[in-house]
């Protein structure tokens, strides 16, 4: 059992539309750097962050094919953070709001990301050192 603190994050932004998404991921990375366990409740558009069918693409304007462009995908960011947490021996959990998943059709998520609902957020928050909510704008 780790003695590190756990932080809960509730996040609402989808991939690719907002700088808040990148900031959110940087906060998760920083939390892991400081040895804090991370628990995420993805709400509304944020459930697409873990969508397994995200695909990289080339970019003709950049004169790069798909491999060269190496386009960022949030599912890969999540996987990278999962791996970082594993390597440090601390927890990293991710739950998507199930209703939000259904209405968006993004049921196919990467391994390690689960499906749940508001009671999971309450449980996460109750057990956490603190909770940061980042709503959409």
């Amino acid at each position: 059992m780790s003695d590190t603190k756990t932080l809960t994050f509730a996040f609402m932004e989808p991939p690719f539309e907002s700088e808040r998404t990148v900031t959110f991921f940087r906060l998760l990375d920083a939390a892991l750097d400081r040895g804090a366990g991370v628990r995420v409740f993805a709400y509304e558009g944020a459930v697409a962050l873990a969508f397994a069918r995200q695909q990289p693409h080339g970019n003709a304007v950049h004169h790069r094919d798909s491999e060269e462009e190496d386009h960022p995908l949030t599912k890969d960011w999540i996987a990278a953070l999962q791996e970082k947490a594993r390597s440090k021996g601390i927890g990293f959990e991710w739950i998507n709001c199930g209703l939000c998943v259904d209405e968006r059709g993004v049921n196919d998520v990467i391994e390690g990301c689960g499906r749940g609902g508001p009671p999971d957020l309450w449980r996460y928050a109750s057990e956490a050192h603190n909770t940061l909510t980042i709503g959409t704008r």
Partner: protein, 126 residues
């Protein structure tokens, strides 16, 4: 644990979701045993004086049948034991200061907001 939900935006996703998602989240967590309070601030204070169901959206041949009922959702929260507050100064700034608040919604002076925050273990600002 007690959580204060601060709702600073109004009518975010209310058409598509047919509710305010943070009011919905609060009601759902209350149902799971959560101890919560709601503070309506900024544009969110519009919910404190809302009396009518949202108009139904019509697009082509598609017509919405279940538009959001924010007055009902606020009333349900109050009835379930979730205190709902609205910042008086934010109501007045929007010309809403003279309107009656929904039953159960309590006005709170901006200078008293810190006291409200102190009552909560966690403050979630949406």
């Amino acid at each position: 644990m007690k959580v204060l939900q601060v709702i600073d935006q109004a009518y975010r996703t209310t058409t598509e979701e047919q509710d305010d998602t943070i009011l919905w989240l609060t009601q759902s967590m209350r149902g799971a045993g959560g101890d919560l309070m709601v503070l309506l601030s900024g544009h969110g204070v519009h919910y404190a004086i809302s009396r009518e169901r949202q108009p139904a959206l019509t697009l082509g041949t598609w017509r919405q049948t279940q538009p959001a009922e924010l007055p009902r959702d606020i009333a349900n929260l109050v009835e379930s034991g979730v205190p709902v507050y609205a910042i008086q100064g934010d109501l007045e700034e929007r010309g809403l200061g003279g309107l009656a608040l929904q039953n159960g919604v309590r006005p709170v002076a901006r200078r008293a907001v810190a006291d409200l925050y102190e009552q909560a273990d966690q403050v979630w600002h949406w």
